[in-house]
């Protein structure tokens, strides 16, 4: 099945297309002017991202970030379209006991260092990443400083 390619999909089109293409896997949680917020299933994150890149023409990944919610981790993707300025915010939840998610660095090369940063600061492992090594912190670090379990002076 080949999907139709949209160069300038509107916010309504994006939320409709994502719902129909990935029923049960993507849940659109809200829309604003030029913004789409969605929750994605982590098992098929690569599939969803490939669809967004190839068929919805989201050529640019603005950021990939981690977030520690203590009982679970989150990886949040911000994807942008260069033709109409629309951004998609995809949130994938990861259980705290299995910190794995598929890497999207093969779709957007610009996501490479974002994933490395998220790995070194949160300990989330991106499967299939070409070089998952520490980037900002020394290689000898054995802890993940941005986790909530890592306390700063002044935090109780």
């Amino acid at each position: 099945m080949t999907d139709e390619v949209y160069q300038q999909p509107s916010v309504q089109e994006i939320s409709g297309l994502l719902r129909n293409r990935f029923p049960g896997k993507v849940e659109v949680t809200g829309t604003e002017e030029r913004r789409v917020y969605a929750k994605a299933d982590r098992e098929c994150i690569h599939e969803i991202c490939a669809y967004i890149h190839d068929c919805l023409t989201f050529e640019h990944v603005t950021s990939i970030m981690g977030n520690d919610m203590i009982d679970r981790m989150e990886v949040i993707y911000h994807l942008s379209n260069y033709f109409n300025g629309v951004m998609i915010e995809l949130t994938a939840e990861i259980p705290a006991d299995d910190l794995h998610i598929r890497s999207v660095a093969d779709i957007w090369a610009g996501g490479n260092w974002h994933e490395r940063e998220t790995y070194e600061l949160f300990g989330i492992i991106f499967d299939g990443h070409p070089k998952l090594q520490r980037l900002l912190t020394p290689d000898t670090y054995e802890f993940y400083p941005f986790r909530k379990s890592y306390k700063l002076r002044g935090q109780e």
Partner: protein, 381 residues
Amino acid sequence: MMSRDVIDIKAEASAINTDKMWVIMGPQHPFSHGLWTLKAQLDGEIVTDAEPIIGYLHRGWEKECENRTYPKIIPMADRLCYAASMTYTHLYCMTVEKALGIDIPDKAKYMRIMADEICRIQSHLMWLAAVGTDLGNLTVFLWAMREREFFMDINVRLCGARMTTNFPRIGGVRNDIDEEFMMYTSRCVERFEKAVWDIISLIDDSSIFVSRMKGTGYLTRETCVNLGITGPAMRGNGVDFDIRRDDPYDNYDKVDFEVPVLNDGDSYSRYMVRIEELFQSCKIIKQTLQKIKAIGKNAPYRLKVPSKVPAGRAFARLEDPRGESMMYLVSDGTDKPYRLKVRSPIFVNVSASKPLVQGSRIADVPAIMAMIDMCLGETDR
């Protein structure tokens, strides 16, 4: 493809078989403009592989913010990048305002974008000075720095500081501006629009400058976009996108300006885009001054905001002098952020240094990397 009238895009392979050699450029190296390292593998004079190494300046900025109340982060945002302090403070305040769900007064919006454009001009002039020294012309450095002083003086009149300005506030800006400031600024801008031609002629009439920039650091539009390069470096590659125009924030949709885009994709077109942006910034500053004057003296410029931000998430993005910067805020309802993420444009741009320098001569590496306009404070955070 671009015109190849000056020199070849990718240099020819060396005829003699020699061992490949790794050259470590940095962290202290005249070309690096900050603490970072470029490991380059050389085959003769040609770069065959490269790896950037960053992290010397990592100070856990995002984690530090989780320990501070919201207003205390404003001066910290200044220190993300000393050359573009205004845009980062603006971005931070915009993100928190979005989380609070408030709309700031019109006057504050115009004052912010005026301050942003002043910041853009002085940041680009600093880049121009760096390009001058990188390519061996000290006059460009001195003249660009001299022009920059005028904009530093505007900053002093605006908020009392030259570089780390600490001017935007959550809900508006720190102080109002007076007639004298407007007069001084418009005079400065008018003077600058003429004076910048001196620097341009110094570069464009110099065959050494042009031949070192034309045809080097070539990327196609698709590679450039896929690598996540943003800002003037991207617009020199034919990507017609500017957040100020295509995803407007504050009052950028109410001012008239053009987005310079060039299709050549080499260092020279990146240089030309930045020079053209200087003129467009002048145009925006003049318009905002008129609009601020029309709004009137006693209009409000700052709102009172609650110290606690309701639980939720918000993000904002903004066109930094160097590219696309974004902040993402997770709030848990207290007076301190739960998580604050910064997307820095240079962090991604420098990750693309391998495709940028691969295949070019080692002597061209400073010229190519100069067009990225490095700033390590925001890269390492």
